[in-house]
């Protein structure tokens, strides 16, 4: 082990330097995604949506300038049809910014869903609360879907 690698190993293991940061590849890099993780629990009726909440039951709220890149979806579920990760406004009247739709089989094995197309859309103004929308079929009672949303701020 070289002196440098030994130093890095010590640096990692000790975590004793509390006033420093590793910045070289990250600083001002607009392409390092940020993320939020939350869950929804059934019942969600067909064609209805439910807001994602974190471990403290807080809504997942994205910055207004966020650009959704993709999301990781996983759970143990039996719903028919598809679900969509989307965003809603404060009034929770409708959704916008839908990502591609996924099926229960995709969710159960863990999957990523992303926007398609050349231009990745920004969040519609005011629609920055993450939600899960059930397309045509309900999410059964007690079933849990976990979603991690990766986004950029531009």
């Amino acid at each position: 082990m070289s002196l440098l690698s030994e130093s890095i190993a010590t640096f990692v293991q000790s975590k004793s330097i509390t006033s420093g940061s590793v910045v070289a590849p990250y600083i001002n890099n607009p392409f390092v995604p940020k993320y939020l993780t939350g869950t929804v629990t059934g019942l969600i009726a067909a064609d209805e949506f439910k807001v994602l909440t974190d471990a403290n039951s807080n809504q997942l709220v994205l910055p207004t300038n966020a650009v959704l890149l993709y999301c990781k979806i996983r759970g143990t579920t039996t719903f028919a049809g598809t679900l969509q990760v989307a965003c809603t406004d404060a009034g929770q009247t409708t959704t916008s910014n839908g990502l591609v739709e996924v099926e229960a089989a995709d969710v159960n094995q863990g999957c990523y869903a992303a926007f398609n197309g050349n231009l990745i859309p920004k969040l519609a103004a005011g629609f920055n609360i993450a939600a899960v929308l059930m397309i045509d079929d309900p999410l059964p009672v007690g079933e849990v879907i976990q979603v991690s949303l990766a986004y950029l701020e531009i």
């Binding site: 440098l4 130093s7 975590k15 420093g20 070289a24 990250y26 890099n29 920004k122 531009i154």
Partner: protein, 156 residues
């Protein structure tokens, strides 16, 4: 040389908290994009091009083994139509290889994120075609209008 000063060769120590995962990422994360940032200023005529330049006036280039993935575009411009194309050209500006689609002034003015790869496999830059330029396809960019770009790419 002390251990800490040797660490500074690779890491800039400022204020904040070092996390184990962040340190590990910075050392070995192959999916962490690198990026270049530059701008162009009008006028650019119809069917004419201008190379993006960084703040020192240097051409914006990506490495020959780069895999472009995302471009962040912003600015203040009033050109007509979806006329601005981002593309990579060779040193002679005689050919281009990677064309990244076109943008409208409205998309640029509100800040756009352009996905540079719709194919299943991310494409490498063709060797020698690594200079980023903007080309106005069917409409001109007015004098004084500015467009900024940040191009994100991976290294294979």
């Amino acid at each position: 040389m002390s251990l800490l000063s040797e660490l500074k060769v690779d890491f800039v120590i400022t204020k904040g908290t070092v996390s184990e995962s962040l340190l590990a990422d910075s050392l070995s994360n192959p999916a962490l994009p690198q990026f270049v940032t530059g701008s162009i200023t009008g006028p650019i005529g119809v069917a004419a091009s201008q190379d993006f330049k960084d703040s020192d006036g240097n051409q914006l280039k990506v490495p020959d083994n780069a895999l472009p993935i995302l471009a962040k575009i912003s600015g203040t411009t009033t050109f007509v139509g979806s006329s601005l194309m981002l593309r990579l050209v060779d040193g002679d500006h005689t050919g281009f290889y990677n064309a990244f689609g076109t943008l409208s002034a409205a998309e640029i003015n509100t800040g756009a994120l352009l996905n540079l790869n719709n194919s299943p496999i991310v494409q490498k830059v063709n060797v020698g075609y690594n200079i980023l330029e903007a080309r106005m396809l069917v409409n001109a960019m007015p004098a004084g209008d500015v467009v900024h770009v940040t191009l994100g790419y991976l290294i294979q």
